[in-house]
Structure formats: C-alpha cells, structure tokens
Symmetry: C2
Subunit: 332 residues, 2 copies
Amino acid sequence: MKVRALVASLAIIGSAAGAGFANAEDLAKPIQPPKQIDLGMAELGKKLYFDPRLSKSGFISCNSCHNLSMGGTDNIPTSIGDKWQQGPINAPTVLNSSLNVAQFWDGRAADLKEQAGGPIANPGEMGFTHQLAVGVLETIPEYVREFKVVFGKDKIDIDQVTAAIAEFEKTLVTPNSRFDQWLLGKKDALASDELAGWNLFKESGCVACHNGEALGGTSFQKMGLVEPYKTTAAAKGRADVTGKDADRMMFKVPTLRNVEMTYPYFHDGAYWTLKEAVDVMGRLQLGKKFTDKENAQIVAFLKTLTGEQPKFDLPILPPSGDKTPRPKPFAK
Amino acid sequence: MKVRALVASLAIIGSAAGAGFANAEDLAKPIQPPKQIDLGMAELGKKLYFDPRLSKSGFISCNSCHNLSMGGTDNIPTSIGDKWQQGPINAPTVLNSSLNVAQFWDGRAADLKEQAGGPIANPGEMGFTHQLAVGVLETIPEYVREFKVVFGKDKIDIDQVTAAIAEFEKTLVTPNSRFDQWLLGKKDALASDELAGWNLFKESGCVACHNGEALGGTSFQKMGLVEPYKTTAAAKGRADVTGKDADRMMFKVPTLRNVEMTYPYFHDGAYWTLKEAVDVMGRLQLGKKFTDKENAQIVAFLKTLTGEQPKFDLPILPPSGDKTPRPKPFAK
C-alpha cells in the first residue's frame, strides 16, 4: 500500500513537471533504432563532436566529458573543464539522450540542439564563445565545403553547428540489450536472478520514475523524497531554472540504460557502485531498505540494460588552414 | 656545390648518430602495410591506448596527446598534462612511429614499448605510476580475461600493458599517400607543382635527413645547423640523454608523413604553417632562402604525404569493477 501511495504521489509530481507518467503497458519499452536521420548532417556532427577546436584550449571536445568509449560519460564525479576547472555536476550520458524530456540535470535546455551550444560557451567547460568557434570552423577548408553540402548556405553559423551535433547525438541510441531482447519475447534472455530483479524493480516502485524507452529521462523528480539527500554539491536542480523554492532538488530522472558503464552515480557523482546506488535510491526515494539479496537481484537486472554501443569509425578531422585562429591552452 | 657539401656533412653527422644515410635509391620509400601483427594484442592495446584510467585523473589517455583523429598529435605547441600542466615539448605523431630509429624527440626510449611506459608515470603527463595503473587494470574483469587470453599469464604486469600498446601502435601506419602512389608508378598521382616540389626537396638537400619510409625518423640532427634556432624551450635534445655538450640541439628528425595534419611544427611547436616551417628549415638547415614559388611547390609536395589514416571502430572500454581504485582528478 505504502509503495502504491508513493507511486501515486510521484505521478502527481511527474504531471506537475509536465512530463506525466506512462500507462502500465508502457512502463518499459525496447529502445528503437533511430529514425529520420540526416546522414550527411550526422556525419558532420560526428566530426564536430570529436573536435577539440570548438574549445578555447584546443584540447576539450564534446567527447572529452561524454566519452563514447565509456558509456557516453567521463566516469569521474564532476567533469574537468578548461584549465582543469572542476565542474559543478556529474556529466550525464549522451547515450539515448534524444529520449529525454529535456537536457541537462535541471532541464534548462529544451533539446539536444540547445544543449550542444552550452558547454562550448561555458567558461568552466570548453571556455570558448559561439562566435570564436564558428570563426575557427570557417577557416578550415574541408569544413566549409561540408557545411555547404549539408546546409546549402554560404556561411557557417552556430545554429548549423549545434544542429549537426544534435543530429549525430540522435544516432547514439543503444538498442538490443538483453532486457530489450526479453521484452521482445526472447524469454531466455534474462537469467532468473535478473528477472527477479526486474520484478523487484517494478514492484518496489523504481519504475514509477525510471520508465519509458530509456528507463528514465521522462520526468523531473525530487532527489531525497522520503529522506533528504546529503551532498556537498551546490546544484539545486529545477530551482536553478525556475527560481522556485518548490523546485529545489528536483532533477531530471537519469536513464538507466547502460548504467553499468555510467558510474559514478547521481548528480554529484558521489556513489561509484550500483550496489550503493540501489541502496540509496531504495531508502531515499522509496523508504525501503533492500536486503542484500534483493539489492543483488536489482543490480543483476540493471546490468542487462547495457545495449549495443554506437559503432563507427573514429572520425578523422580536417586539418586547420593557414589562417585558422590558434588554440590558447595556456593563455592567462 | 654548397648543398652537396652540406649533404656530405649531414651524412657524417648521421653516421655519428649511428643511423647512417640511405643509398640514393632508398631516399624515399612507400609506406608498407604493417606485418607480423598479433591482432589480439593489438586489439587489447587499442583499448589501453584510449583508456584514461591509465592516468591519475582518469581523464588523460595516450589518445589525448597523440590523437588519432588529428594526425596522431594534439595540434597544440606543447601538451596538456595532469592538472593542466604545460609540457616541455611538442607531442610527436604516433603515426608511422614504428619506423623511427628511437622514440621521443631525444631518442631516450629505444622502441615503442619502452616509450609507452613513459607518459603513464610522468608526473607532468598522466601523473600515475606503473604499479597503480596495473592495480586499476587487474580489478576490471573484462581486462583480466583479455590479458589472460593474449599473454597466457595469471597476472597483469606493466610489460604486458606497454607491449600491447606498442603492438597497436605498430598498426598505425599510413600507406597509400599520393606520393606513394607516384613512387609505385602511378605517374599522374602528382600534379606538376607537387612534382616540382619533390625535385626541389631532393635537390635542395631536405631528403638528406627526411628520407626512408617515413621521410624522417631515421637519424638525429642538429636543429639550427647553418643558423642557430631561436627558441624559449628548454629541451636540449640528445644532450639531455647523453649529457654531452656536442649533442646539444640534436633532435630526432621528425617524419614528414601526414605533415599537413601534425602542426604546429618543430620540437617547440613554434610554427603553425608549412610555409613557415619550410622557410625555417631552408634557412637554418640548408642555408637556403626558398623563393615564394619554391616554397609553395615544396608545401604542395608535402601535402601529398598524407596517407590513409588508421581506420577502426572507436573502442568500447570495459567498465570498472566495484573494487577498481577511483581516479583522482582533483586531489591535491
């Protein structure tokens, strides 16, 4: 009863955040391969995603903190920015991020395109400006040609840059996990402890927030619903966007897809193991202390959410031209 | 006559450095595809090459400074190390580095395997120790299995780590440049100005040092032979290894393969364009001031040295285990 009541209250919060909850039959869905991708734009975006010339230093690219070799994260609590500045929050995975209701932990960007412009111009991240980034690209002959082919315009602008990066990011879904195979009818895809974990995950109420294709990303929820979450991180979640006290500690529910690869966990990256993360979530969000056996079963289930990682050739970046502005890694 | 005399003197220096010069017919050779590669070891080495867990911070991998998207370099004058420390010297390209007579600008490592251990333990680069790096790897279940398959031993050690990285690096050759196609008989592979550049390159004496498969990497030579090279960099070249005053400013001749991608140039990374680099080399090494037309022809030739870049799927790294020691990006 307690759990059911809690799920109902979560549903209200979910609606309040404008996301709502899925119907029972939609609690978990298999990841769909990406559709309606502009391949030329995605190929251009892939290069930009890996190109550190979009940063002041010439050293940091999108892939530095959303590393596609490592589950689309950097696997450190908070990211390293220009001049080794310490970021305020854990870098969320880029994998399956097209399925998020909004981008960033606090949802301050509506979509991937809007998100992509953020780190480039953030003094603590890539430390550049949109104007300077475009100024670099328009001096690189191969980029000039490729932007023209893709966008059909004579001049590169930041909208094209972020649109291309977002198009590439739309391709970064991870279908065909063992859980998805099971959802699609391959009943031996999950072992008994994994299946027990899925049942616990449903019955305990985890799925109230971690639902949909990405098992997360569909709503904002309060971190520390039953018990407050203790953290030294200053981030206040949605309140940083809305200014409303009621939105304090309301964060976007992270996806659980590939969660075995996206440690450390939570917005402050304070927990390194799934065992700890499941324990914290149970106690703080559900008021439930999982036994060691239950915890191990849920962890076993979570590890079945690792899907096929994006598979592509490491992109080769076009060389700078003689007039390309030079990176300034050590400028005061 | 002057050039011929200079080439003779260079040949003496070359012999003194133990490398000698190639015969006339061997001045330039096409890049050969790699042979006798242990594919299992190279695949493991590829993962290690991209794995930032070999650094203290968990942020810097071999690929950070020898970026295979960017000609095997970082395209900045000197590299960024742990906590954004400024490196003392320009990161040489890893491409075709198996063809070098020795590794590092000063040749202090005999081969790729010996080189690979350097940056991991260098406090200014990856800032780790061999013991700590191995300690990380032996807690990552997929690595433990893969090392066992490749090396047939129960324990991972640093020799295995560096052997695997070196085996991967042996695959990083760039055959089939337009110049190589021309060398192999495709006479229309070079345009007339490019061919004029090659002839100037030969006749002016550049090829005395930039020869062999890699057009460089076969000998140590004095930077600033005819005129001293002015630089603020502290590196003294071979003298840093031998302690001999006669070895001051003796650096390994860099390869010119893919030189269009490996800017900025020279051991201090002080020059960004091929035009400048050709001018400096002509004046300081050959006592020759190339005309604008000659310079442009040599630059056109140099751009024909861009070969096929290594083509492989971005590696997916195995996730850390619950007991894996955690990276320390911001530790004092």
